[in-house]
Symmetry: C2
Subunit: 91 residues, 2 copies
């Protein structure tokens, strides 16, 4: 069965998310690292640190960017998003 | 002749880079929007604002992330990078 996990990157230290990615990829086929706004830079850091220091065979399957509308009506704002899909080569 | 321009996103207002992307795409076949570190979030904002408000037919051809080593020897640090390649449909 194909499994897919999601990790939302926010304002915790990068290594907290790196650990989450490594753990997820030990049980799931792929992991989506997602972030909004200022955390987009952190999401890229998470993927790069994971690849450089923990899982050198990490594969970036794809990267998508988009826009979400956040906030209540009358005070809505657009926020950019990123989704980085990761996997590891099969045994 | 195929032309390709590069725009480096830094700490100026988003709209300064949006204008540069729109201008570049009026003369070049494709534009690479590049950024490092904290500016990665701004690079995504530049692409999303361009697409939403200026060039609705904008095509994101590809997104690559990577790591660069910056600084002098002994004080080097790794910085994440992003390159977003944009184009417009022909004709």
């Amino acid at each position: 069965m194909s499994t897919d996990e999601k990790i939302f990157v926010g304002s915790k230290p990068i290594l907290a998310y790196v650990t989450a990615v490594v753990t997820s990829l030990s049980r799931a086929d792929s992991v989506k690292v997602m972030a909004r706004g200022r955390a987009i830079s952190s999401a890229v850091d998470v993927v790069e640190v994971t690849k450089r220091s923990f899982l050198t065979d990490l594969v970036v399957e794809g990267i998508e960017i988009g826009t979400e509308r956040l906030g209540e009506s009358g005070a809505e704002r657009n926020v950019s998003t990123i989704t980085i899909t990761l996997s590891r080569p099969k045994g």
